[in-house]
Protein backbone atom coordinates (compact mmCIF):
# COMPACT_ATOMS: atom_id res chain seq x y z
CA UNK A 1 0.00 0.00 0.00
CA UNK A 2 1.41 3.40 -1.02
CA UNK A 3 -0.58 5.49 1.43
CA UNK A 4 -2.48 4.34 4.48
CA UNK A 5 -4.52 6.82 6.47
CA UNK A 6 -6.29 5.72 9.62
CA UNK A 7 -8.78 7.59 11.81
CA UNK A 8 -7.64 11.05 10.69
CA UNK A 9 -9.06 13.87 12.81
CA UNK A 10 -8.43 17.55 12.23
CA UNK A 11 -10.03 20.63 13.77
CA UNK A 12 -9.54 24.31 13.15
CA UNK A 13 -10.59 25.80 16.47
CA UNK A 14 -14.10 24.53 17.13
CA UNK A 15 -14.58 23.50 13.50
CA UNK A 16 -14.18 19.71 13.29
CA UNK A 17 -13.13 19.38 9.63
CA UNK A 18 -12.02 15.75 9.42
CA UNK A 19 -13.91 13.25 11.58
CA UNK A 20 -12.04 9.98 11.46
CA UNK A 21 -11.08 9.45 7.83
CA UNK A 22 -9.75 6.09 6.64
CA UNK A 23 -8.21 6.06 3.19
CA UNK A 24 -5.82 3.70 1.41
CA UNK A 25 -4.15 4.45 -1.89
CA UNK A 26 -2.41 1.75 -3.86
CA UNK A 27 0.67 2.18 -6.01
CA UNK A 28 -0.34 3.52 -9.49
CA UNK A 29 -3.85 4.19 -8.28
CA UNK A 30 -5.77 7.37 -9.11
CA UNK A 31 -8.22 8.30 -6.36
CA UNK A 32 -10.74 11.11 -6.83
CA UNK A 33 -12.19 12.85 -3.79
CA UNK A 34 -15.58 14.36 -4.48
CA UNK A 35 -18.10 16.08 -2.26
CA UNK A 36 -19.66 19.45 -1.51
CA UNK A 37 -17.48 22.48 -0.75
CA UNK A 38 -16.31 22.40 2.84
CA UNK A 39 -16.56 18.60 3.09
CA UNK A 40 -12.87 18.43 4.03
CA UNK A 41 -11.28 17.13 0.81
CA UNK A 42 -8.75 19.98 0.51
CA UNK A 43 -7.83 19.67 4.16
CA UNK A 44 -7.43 15.92 3.77
CA UNK A 45 -5.02 16.43 0.86
CA UNK A 46 -2.97 18.91 2.87
CA UNK A 47 -2.68 16.54 5.80
CA UNK A 48 -1.19 13.86 3.53
CA UNK A 49 1.99 15.82 2.80
CA UNK A 50 2.00 17.34 6.27
CA UNK A 51 1.10 20.89 5.25
CA UNK A 52 -1.60 20.51 7.90
CA UNK A 53 -0.76 18.67 11.09
CA UNK A 54 -3.40 16.11 12.05
CA UNK A 55 -4.83 16.03 15.58
CA UNK A 56 -5.36 12.27 15.71
CA UNK A 57 -4.75 9.21 13.57
CA UNK A 58 -1.87 7.86 11.53
CA UNK A 59 -0.54 8.38 8.02
CA UNK A 60 1.86 5.87 6.49
CA UNK A 61 3.83 6.27 3.29
CA UNK A 62 5.16 2.94 2.01
CA UNK A 63 4.51 1.56 5.45
CA UNK A 64 6.58 4.23 7.17
CA UNK A 65 4.75 6.28 9.77
CA UNK A 66 5.04 9.94 8.73
CA UNK A 67 2.43 11.62 10.91
CA UNK A 68 4.08 11.31 14.32
CA UNK A 69 6.23 14.42 14.04
CA UNK A 70 9.46 12.42 13.82
CA UNK A 71 9.57 12.44 10.03
CA UNK A 72 11.11 15.49 8.41
CA UNK A 73 8.18 17.23 6.68
CA UNK A 74 10.45 18.73 4.01
CA UNK A 75 11.60 15.26 2.97
CA UNK A 76 8.04 13.94 2.90
CA UNK A 77 6.99 16.86 0.71
CA UNK A 78 9.68 15.99 -1.79
CA UNK A 79 8.13 12.52 -2.04
CA UNK A 80 4.50 13.73 -2.08
CA UNK A 81 3.95 16.65 -4.43
CA UNK A 82 0.92 18.92 -4.39
CA UNK A 83 -0.67 21.34 -6.86
CA UNK A 84 -3.13 23.97 -5.68
CA UNK A 85 -6.22 25.54 -7.15
CA UNK A 86 -4.57 28.94 -7.57
CA UNK A 87 -1.32 27.66 -9.19
CA UNK A 88 0.89 29.62 -6.73
CA UNK A 89 3.81 29.99 -9.09
CA UNK A 90 6.44 32.43 -7.84
CA UNK A 91 5.76 35.64 -9.80
CA UNK A 92 9.32 36.96 -9.60
CA UNK A 93 10.92 33.91 -11.23
CA UNK A 94 10.83 32.59 -14.78
CA UNK A 95 8.99 29.34 -15.38
CA UNK A 96 12.30 27.49 -15.47
CA UNK A 97 13.44 28.97 -12.13
CA UNK A 98 10.06 28.12 -10.62
CA UNK A 99 10.53 24.51 -11.68
CA UNK A 100 14.11 24.05 -10.57
CA UNK A 101 14.04 25.91 -7.23
CA UNK A 102 12.61 23.00 -5.23
CA UNK A 103 14.71 20.22 -6.77
CA UNK A 104 17.93 22.24 -6.47
CA UNK A 105 17.44 23.70 -2.99
CA UNK A 106 15.36 21.00 -1.29
CA UNK A 107 16.32 17.77 -3.08
CA UNK A 108 19.92 18.83 -3.68
CA UNK A 109 19.68 18.07 -7.39
CA UNK A 110 22.48 19.25 -9.63
CA UNK A 111 21.33 22.55 -11.26
CA UNK A 112 22.25 21.48 -14.78
CA UNK A 113 20.43 18.18 -14.39
CA UNK A 114 17.41 19.93 -12.85
CA UNK A 115 17.23 22.40 -15.74
CA UNK A 116 17.52 19.67 -18.34
CA UNK A 117 14.79 17.69 -16.64
CA UNK A 118 12.53 20.73 -16.27
CA UNK A 119 12.97 21.68 -19.93
CA UNK A 120 12.25 18.13 -21.00
CA UNK A 121 9.02 18.04 -18.98
CA UNK A 122 7.94 21.49 -20.23
CA UNK A 123 8.52 20.27 -23.73
CA UNK A 124 6.45 17.17 -23.15
CA UNK A 125 3.53 19.21 -21.80
CA UNK A 126 3.59 21.80 -24.56
CA UNK A 127 5.28 24.62 -22.66
CA UNK A 128 8.67 24.56 -24.39
CA UNK A 129 8.33 28.16 -25.55
CA UNK A 130 7.49 29.39 -22.03
CA UNK A 131 10.73 28.29 -20.37
CA UNK A 132 12.05 31.83 -19.86
CA UNK A 133 8.71 33.61 -19.46
CA UNK A 134 7.45 35.02 -16.18
CA UNK A 135 4.17 33.54 -14.88
CA UNK A 136 2.16 36.74 -15.48
CA UNK A 137 2.75 36.35 -19.22
CA UNK A 138 1.07 32.93 -19.23
CA UNK A 139 -2.62 32.08 -19.47
CA UNK A 140 -4.29 30.46 -16.47
CA UNK A 141 -4.18 27.07 -18.15
CA UNK A 142 -0.49 27.44 -18.95
CA UNK A 143 0.26 28.55 -15.40
CA UNK A 144 -1.55 25.57 -13.98
CA UNK A 145 0.27 23.19 -16.33
CA UNK A 146 3.56 24.80 -15.31
CA UNK A 147 2.57 24.32 -11.65
CA UNK A 148 1.89 20.63 -12.30
CA UNK A 149 5.25 20.25 -14.03
CA UNK A 150 6.87 22.04 -11.08
CA UNK A 151 5.51 19.34 -8.79
CA UNK A 152 6.90 16.64 -11.11
CA UNK A 153 10.51 17.76 -11.52
CA UNK A 154 11.51 16.28 -8.17
CA UNK A 155 10.04 12.86 -9.12
CA UNK A 156 7.39 12.57 -6.43
CA UNK A 157 6.01 9.13 -5.58
CA UNK A 158 2.53 10.55 -5.06
CA UNK A 159 0.93 13.64 -6.56
CA UNK A 160 -1.91 15.47 -4.78
CA UNK A 161 -4.11 17.76 -6.87
CA UNK A 162 -6.38 20.18 -5.05
CA UNK A 163 -9.21 21.34 -7.34
CA UNK A 164 -6.69 22.36 -9.94
CA UNK A 165 -9.27 23.39 -12.54
CA UNK A 166 -11.62 25.34 -10.28
CA UNK A 167 -9.94 28.70 -10.87
CA UNK A 168 -9.72 28.28 -14.64
CA UNK A 169 -11.91 29.67 -17.39
CA UNK A 170 -14.02 26.78 -18.77
CA UNK A 171 -12.20 26.69 -22.11
CA UNK A 172 -8.86 26.18 -20.32
CA UNK A 173 -9.95 23.21 -18.22
CA UNK A 174 -9.40 20.67 -20.98
CA UNK A 175 -5.68 21.31 -21.48
CA UNK A 176 -5.01 20.87 -17.76
CA UNK A 177 -7.07 17.70 -17.47
CA UNK A 178 -5.27 16.16 -20.44
CA UNK A 179 -2.00 16.56 -18.54
CA UNK A 180 -3.47 14.62 -15.63
CA UNK A 181 -4.80 11.98 -17.97
CA UNK A 182 -1.34 11.47 -19.37
CA UNK A 183 0.16 11.20 -15.88
CA UNK A 184 -2.47 8.60 -15.01
CA UNK A 185 -1.54 6.55 -18.08
CA UNK A 186 2.08 6.67 -16.99
CA UNK A 187 1.08 5.13 -13.69
CA UNK A 188 1.73 8.04 -11.33
CA UNK A 189 -0.07 7.57 -8.02
CA UNK A 190 -2.47 10.48 -7.62
CA UNK A 191 -5.09 11.73 -5.19
CA UNK A 192 -7.23 14.51 -6.53
CA UNK A 193 -10.01 16.62 -5.15
CA UNK A 194 -12.23 17.70 -8.02
CA UNK A 195 -15.61 19.04 -9.06
CA UNK A 196 -15.21 17.63 -12.58
CA UNK A 197 -17.36 14.51 -12.27
CA UNK A 198 -16.98 13.53 -15.92
CA UNK A 199 -13.24 13.66 -15.55
CA UNK A 200 -13.37 11.69 -12.30
CA UNK A 201 -15.33 8.98 -14.06
CA UNK A 202 -12.74 8.85 -16.88
CA UNK A 203 -9.53 8.93 -14.97
CA UNK A 204 -10.17 7.54 -11.49
CA UNK A 205 -9.67 3.97 -10.37
CA UNK A 206 -11.66 4.80 -7.31
CA UNK A 207 -13.99 7.61 -6.27
CA UNK A 208 -14.37 8.65 -2.65
CA UNK A 209 -17.43 10.68 -1.73
CA UNK A 210 -16.93 12.82 1.37
CA UNK A 211 -19.45 14.85 3.28
CA UNK A 212 -19.08 16.85 6.50
CA UNK A 213 -15.64 15.49 7.29
CA UNK A 214 -16.38 11.80 6.78
CA UNK A 215 -16.06 9.31 3.95
CA UNK A 216 -19.62 8.42 2.97
CA UNK A 217 -19.10 6.07 0.07
CA UNK A 218 -16.18 4.70 -1.88
CA UNK A 219 -15.84 2.43 -4.88
CA UNK A 220 -15.16 2.30 -8.62
CA UNK A 221 -16.37 5.41 -10.49
CA UNK A 222 -19.13 3.55 -12.31
CA UNK A 223 -20.58 2.49 -8.99
CA UNK A 224 -20.24 5.66 -6.91
CA UNK A 225 -21.18 8.00 -9.75
CA UNK A 226 -23.62 5.64 -11.49
CA UNK A 227 -25.42 3.61 -8.85
CA UNK A 228 -24.63 5.22 -5.50
CA UNK A 229 -25.94 3.38 -2.45
CA UNK A 230 -25.92 6.12 0.17
CA UNK A 231 -28.67 8.72 0.24
CA UNK A 232 -26.21 11.59 0.71
CA UNK A 233 -24.25 10.56 -2.37
CA UNK A 234 -27.46 10.36 -4.39
CA UNK A 235 -28.53 13.83 -3.26
CA UNK A 236 -25.13 15.31 -4.05
CA UNK A 237 -25.04 13.77 -7.51
CA UNK A 238 -28.59 14.89 -8.21
CA UNK A 239 -27.53 18.46 -7.47
CA UNK A 240 -24.44 18.06 -9.65
CA UNK A 241 -26.53 16.76 -12.54
CA UNK A 242 -28.91 19.69 -12.12
CA UNK A 243 -25.89 21.99 -12.31
CA UNK A 244 -24.95 20.32 -15.59
CA UNK A 245 -21.60 18.99 -14.43
CA UNK A 246 -22.10 15.30 -15.09
Amino acid sequence: MKLEMREIHKSFGSNHVLKGIDLDVDEHEVVCLIGPSGCGKSTLLRTINLLEKIDQGTIRLEGQLISDGAANPNEIRQRIGIVFQSYNLFPHMTVLKNLTLGPIKANGMDPTAAEAKAKDLLDRFGLADKVHEYPDRLSGGQQQRAAIVRALVGDPEVLLLDEITSALDPELVGEVLSVIRELATRGLTMVLATHEMGFARDVANRVVFMDAGSVVETGPPSQVLGTPVEARTQQFLARVIEGGRL
Binding site: L51, F90, L101, G102, K105, D136
Partner: protein, 286 residues
Protein backbone atom coordinates in the same frame (compact mmCIF):
# COMPACT_ATOMS: atom_id res chain seq x y z
CA UNK B 1 17.10 43.16 -12.13
CA UNK B 2 15.99 41.51 -15.31
CA UNK B 3 12.57 42.56 -16.29
CA UNK B 4 9.63 40.23 -16.73
CA UNK B 5 8.18 42.75 -19.11
CA UNK B 6 11.03 43.29 -21.51
CA UNK B 7 8.68 43.92 -24.40
CA UNK B 8 7.17 46.86 -22.60
CA UNK B 9 10.45 48.49 -21.77
CA UNK B 10 10.67 49.74 -25.30
CA UNK B 11 7.33 51.38 -25.54
CA UNK B 12 6.25 54.48 -23.65
CA UNK B 13 4.07 53.85 -20.63
CA UNK B 14 0.83 55.33 -21.75
CA UNK B 15 -0.47 58.13 -19.54
CA UNK B 16 1.93 57.89 -16.63
CA UNK B 17 5.19 58.10 -18.52
CA UNK B 18 4.17 61.04 -20.65
CA UNK B 19 5.11 64.52 -19.57
CA UNK B 20 2.65 67.08 -18.37
CA UNK B 21 2.96 69.08 -21.56
CA UNK B 22 2.03 66.20 -23.88
CA UNK B 23 -1.27 65.82 -22.14
CA UNK B 24 -2.16 69.49 -22.06
CA UNK B 25 -1.07 70.31 -25.58
CA UNK B 26 0.89 73.34 -26.79
CA UNK B 27 -1.72 75.84 -25.69
CA UNK B 28 -1.74 74.42 -22.17
CA UNK B 29 2.04 74.61 -22.08
CA UNK B 30 2.00 78.28 -23.03
CA UNK B 31 -0.55 79.11 -20.36
CA UNK B 32 1.42 77.19 -17.73
CA UNK B 33 4.63 79.00 -18.72
CA UNK B 34 3.15 82.48 -18.68
CA UNK B 35 1.35 82.02 -15.37
CA UNK B 36 4.44 80.57 -13.70
CA UNK B 37 6.57 83.44 -14.95
CA UNK B 38 4.03 86.03 -13.79
CA UNK B 39 3.88 84.38 -10.36
CA UNK B 40 7.68 84.46 -9.94
CA UNK B 41 7.89 88.11 -11.03
CA UNK B 42 5.19 89.16 -8.56
CA UNK B 43 6.82 87.30 -5.69
CA UNK B 44 10.25 88.79 -6.43
CA UNK B 45 8.79 92.30 -6.69
CA UNK B 46 6.92 91.98 -3.40
CA UNK B 47 9.95 90.64 -1.56
CA UNK B 48 12.46 92.97 -3.21
CA UNK B 49 10.44 96.09 -2.53
CA UNK B 50 9.77 95.30 1.09
CA UNK B 51 11.64 97.73 3.34
CA UNK B 52 13.05 94.94 5.51
CA UNK B 53 14.48 92.99 2.56
CA UNK B 54 18.03 94.49 2.83
CA UNK B 55 18.26 93.35 6.46
CA UNK B 56 17.06 89.87 5.56
CA UNK B 57 19.45 89.75 2.66
CA UNK B 58 22.45 90.77 4.78
CA UNK B 59 21.66 88.15 7.42
CA UNK B 60 20.59 85.21 5.26
CA UNK B 61 21.91 85.76 1.77
CA UNK B 62 25.41 87.18 2.29
CA UNK B 63 26.93 85.55 -0.81
CA UNK B 64 30.41 86.78 0.04
CA UNK B 65 30.35 84.97 3.37
CA UNK B 66 28.90 81.87 1.71
CA UNK B 67 31.74 81.92 -0.78
CA UNK B 68 34.33 82.27 1.99
CA UNK B 69 32.85 79.39 4.00
CA UNK B 70 32.09 77.14 1.05
CA UNK B 71 35.06 74.80 1.38
CA UNK B 72 34.68 74.28 5.13
CA UNK B 73 30.95 73.56 4.86
CA UNK B 74 31.51 71.42 1.78
CA UNK B 75 34.09 69.36 3.69
CA UNK B 76 31.53 68.95 6.48
CA UNK B 77 28.89 67.96 3.99
CA UNK B 78 31.11 65.21 2.64
CA UNK B 79 31.03 63.79 6.17
CA UNK B 80 27.21 63.86 6.00
CA UNK B 81 27.30 62.05 2.70
CA UNK B 82 29.46 59.16 3.88
CA UNK B 83 27.52 58.96 7.14
CA UNK B 84 24.18 58.54 5.39
CA UNK B 85 25.61 56.20 2.77
CA UNK B 86 27.20 53.89 5.35
CA UNK B 87 24.13 54.33 7.56
CA UNK B 88 21.70 53.39 4.81
CA UNK B 89 23.55 50.18 3.97
CA UNK B 90 23.71 49.19 7.63
CA UNK B 91 20.03 50.06 8.15
CA UNK B 92 18.83 48.01 5.20
CA UNK B 93 20.77 44.97 6.36
CA UNK B 94 19.96 45.20 10.08
CA UNK B 95 16.29 46.05 9.49
CA UNK B 96 15.91 43.08 7.15
CA UNK B 97 17.43 40.79 9.76
CA UNK B 98 15.02 42.08 12.42
CA UNK B 99 12.01 41.84 10.10
CA UNK B 100 12.89 38.25 9.24
CA UNK B 101 13.34 37.43 12.93
CA UNK B 102 9.94 38.90 13.61
CA UNK B 103 8.19 37.02 10.82
CA UNK B 104 9.49 33.52 11.63
CA UNK B 105 6.59 31.24 12.45
CA UNK B 106 6.34 28.42 14.95
CA UNK B 107 6.69 28.11 18.72
CA UNK B 108 10.43 27.39 18.56
CA UNK B 109 11.07 30.91 17.29
CA UNK B 110 9.17 32.69 20.08
CA UNK B 111 12.33 34.06 21.76
CA UNK B 112 13.59 35.34 18.39
CA UNK B 113 10.30 37.07 17.65
CA UNK B 114 10.22 38.48 21.17
CA UNK B 115 13.74 39.88 20.82
CA UNK B 116 12.82 41.56 17.52
CA UNK B 117 9.70 43.14 19.05
CA UNK B 118 11.62 44.43 22.07
CA UNK B 119 14.24 45.94 19.78
CA UNK B 120 11.65 47.64 17.60
CA UNK B 121 9.62 48.97 20.53
CA UNK B 122 12.68 50.33 22.27
CA UNK B 123 14.48 52.05 19.43
CA UNK B 124 11.32 53.34 17.83
CA UNK B 125 10.18 54.67 21.16
CA UNK B 126 13.07 56.90 22.19
CA UNK B 127 13.89 60.22 20.49
CA UNK B 128 17.03 60.00 18.35
CA UNK B 129 18.44 63.07 20.02
CA UNK B 130 18.14 61.38 23.43
CA UNK B 131 19.83 58.27 22.11
CA UNK B 132 22.60 60.44 20.71
CA UNK B 133 23.23 62.16 24.02
CA UNK B 134 23.05 58.88 25.91
CA UNK B 135 25.31 56.84 23.64
CA UNK B 136 27.42 59.56 22.06
CA UNK B 137 28.50 61.16 25.32
CA UNK B 138 27.70 58.38 27.76
CA UNK B 139 29.58 55.44 26.32
CA UNK B 140 32.85 57.26 25.57
CA UNK B 141 32.67 58.64 29.13
CA UNK B 142 32.79 55.09 30.49
CA UNK B 143 36.25 54.66 28.95
CA UNK B 144 35.60 50.95 28.55
CA UNK B 145 38.59 49.17 27.09
CA UNK B 146 38.06 47.76 23.62
CA UNK B 147 35.15 50.03 22.72
CA UNK B 148 35.56 52.89 20.25
CA UNK B 149 35.38 56.37 21.77
CA UNK B 150 34.52 58.27 18.64
CA UNK B 151 31.39 60.40 18.63
CA UNK B 152 30.82 59.66 14.94
CA UNK B 153 30.83 55.94 15.62
CA UNK B 154 28.35 56.01 18.49
CA UNK B 155 26.22 58.67 16.85
CA UNK B 156 25.94 56.61 13.71
CA UNK B 157 25.15 53.51 15.77
CA UNK B 158 22.21 55.31 17.40
CA UNK B 159 20.86 56.61 14.08
CA UNK B 160 21.21 53.16 12.49
CA UNK B 161 19.46 51.41 15.39
CA UNK B 162 16.61 53.91 15.44
CA UNK B 163 16.11 53.84 11.68
CA UNK B 164 16.39 50.05 11.63
CA UNK B 165 13.48 49.79 14.04
CA UNK B 166 11.29 51.78 11.64
CA UNK B 167 12.65 50.13 8.54
CA UNK B 168 12.10 46.65 9.99
CA UNK B 169 8.42 47.48 10.19
CA UNK B 170 8.52 48.65 6.59
CA UNK B 171 10.01 45.31 5.54
CA UNK B 172 7.48 43.48 7.66
CA UNK B 173 4.59 45.19 5.90
CA UNK B 174 6.19 44.06 2.65
CA UNK B 175 6.49 40.49 3.93
CA UNK B 176 2.88 40.51 5.13
CA UNK B 177 1.75 41.71 1.70
CA UNK B 178 3.09 38.55 0.06
CA UNK B 179 0.15 36.09 0.01
CA UNK B 180 0.37 33.13 2.41
CA UNK B 181 -0.09 30.85 -0.58
CA UNK B 182 3.48 31.67 -1.60
CA UNK B 183 4.84 30.28 1.66
CA UNK B 184 2.57 27.29 1.31
CA UNK B 185 3.80 26.77 -2.23
CA UNK B 186 7.43 26.92 -1.09
CA UNK B 187 6.74 24.47 1.73
CA UNK B 188 4.99 22.10 -0.67
CA UNK B 189 8.20 21.91 -2.73
CA UNK B 190 10.03 20.66 0.36
CA UNK B 191 11.78 23.96 1.03
CA UNK B 192 12.48 24.77 4.66
CA UNK B 193 10.85 27.82 6.24
CA UNK B 194 14.09 29.75 5.81
CA UNK B 195 14.50 28.71 2.17
CA UNK B 196 10.90 29.69 1.48
CA UNK B 197 11.55 33.14 2.94
CA UNK B 198 14.87 33.56 1.19
CA UNK B 199 13.83 32.49 -2.31
CA UNK B 200 10.06 32.99 -2.50
CA UNK B 201 8.88 35.61 0.00
CA UNK B 202 11.70 38.11 0.56
CA UNK B 203 12.39 38.96 -3.10
CA UNK B 204 8.72 39.87 -3.50
CA UNK B 205 8.58 41.63 -0.13
CA UNK B 206 11.62 43.79 -0.85
CA UNK B 207 10.25 44.77 -4.22
CA UNK B 208 7.03 45.78 -2.47
CA UNK B 209 8.82 48.20 -0.15
CA UNK B 210 11.49 49.80 -2.35
CA UNK B 211 9.49 53.06 -2.62
CA UNK B 212 9.17 53.19 1.18
CA UNK B 213 12.89 52.45 1.59
CA UNK B 214 13.77 55.30 -0.77
CA UNK B 215 11.56 57.59 1.24
CA UNK B 216 13.37 56.57 4.42
CA UNK B 217 16.68 57.26 2.71
CA UNK B 218 15.64 60.85 1.96
CA UNK B 219 14.77 61.26 5.61
CA UNK B 220 18.07 59.78 6.76
CA UNK B 221 20.05 62.23 4.61
CA UNK B 222 18.85 65.03 6.86
CA UNK B 223 18.79 63.20 10.17
CA UNK B 224 22.51 62.41 10.16
CA UNK B 225 22.90 66.17 10.76
CA UNK B 226 21.70 65.45 14.29
CA UNK B 227 25.19 64.15 14.98
CA UNK B 228 26.25 67.81 15.17
CA UNK B 229 25.07 67.80 18.80
CA UNK B 230 27.94 65.41 19.49
CA UNK B 231 30.39 67.86 17.95
CA UNK B 232 30.80 65.87 14.73
CA UNK B 233 32.16 68.36 12.19
CA UNK B 234 29.50 67.84 9.55
CA UNK B 235 27.89 70.57 7.45
CA UNK B 236 25.45 71.95 10.03
CA UNK B 237 28.12 72.00 12.73
CA UNK B 238 30.58 73.83 10.47
CA UNK B 239 27.91 76.35 9.50
CA UNK B 240 27.05 76.81 13.16
CA UNK B 241 30.68 77.54 14.00
CA UNK B 242 30.92 80.23 11.30
CA UNK B 243 27.58 81.72 12.31
CA UNK B 244 28.72 81.82 15.91
CA UNK B 245 31.75 83.82 14.84
CA UNK B 246 30.08 86.20 12.34
CA UNK B 247 26.52 86.51 13.69
CA UNK B 248 25.35 85.91 10.14
CA UNK B 249 23.01 83.07 9.11
CA UNK B 250 24.10 82.75 5.49
CA UNK B 251 26.29 79.68 6.14
CA UNK B 252 23.15 77.85 7.32
CA UNK B 253 21.42 78.80 4.09
CA UNK B 254 24.39 77.51 2.15
CA UNK B 255 24.31 74.23 4.09
CA UNK B 256 20.55 73.99 3.49
CA UNK B 257 21.15 74.38 -0.23
CA UNK B 258 23.60 71.46 -0.14
CA UNK B 259 21.04 69.23 1.61
CA UNK B 260 18.36 70.23 -0.90
CA UNK B 261 20.68 69.50 -3.79
CA UNK B 262 20.74 65.87 -2.67
CA UNK B 263 17.30 65.36 -1.16
CA UNK B 264 15.19 66.85 -3.95
CA UNK B 265 16.66 64.61 -6.69
CA UNK B 266 16.36 61.64 -4.32
CA UNK B 267 12.69 62.40 -3.71
CA UNK B 268 12.02 62.80 -7.44
CA UNK B 269 13.80 59.52 -8.10
CA UNK B 270 11.61 57.82 -5.48
CA UNK B 271 8.49 59.27 -7.13
CA UNK B 272 9.65 58.15 -10.55
CA UNK B 273 10.49 54.67 -9.36
CA UNK B 274 7.16 54.29 -7.55
CA UNK B 275 5.19 55.41 -10.60
CA UNK B 276 7.13 53.07 -12.88
CA UNK B 277 6.67 50.15 -10.50
CA UNK B 278 2.95 50.80 -10.25
CA UNK B 279 2.59 51.00 -14.04
CA UNK B 280 4.44 47.71 -14.46
CA UNK B 281 2.33 45.97 -11.90
CA UNK B 282 -0.95 47.09 -13.40
CA UNK B 283 0.23 45.92 -16.82
CA UNK B 284 1.38 42.61 -15.40
CA UNK B 285 -1.98 42.05 -13.74
CA UNK B 286 -3.92 42.89 -16.90
Amino acid sequence: MNSPLSAQDHEPLTGRGRSYFDQEGARGALIAFVSTLAFIVVVLLVIGRSENWPTVQRSFFDFELMWESRSVIWRGFRTNVWMFMVGQVAIMALALLIAVMRSLKGPAFLPVRFLAIVFIDFFRGIPIILGLLLFGFGIPALRLPGLPNSAVFWGLVVVVLSYSAYTAEVYRSGIDAVPDSQRLSAASLGLTQWQGLRYAVLPQAIRNVIPALLNGFVSLQKDVALLSVLGVREAVREAQIITGRTFNYSPYVFAAALFLAISIPSARFADWYTARDRARRSQGAG
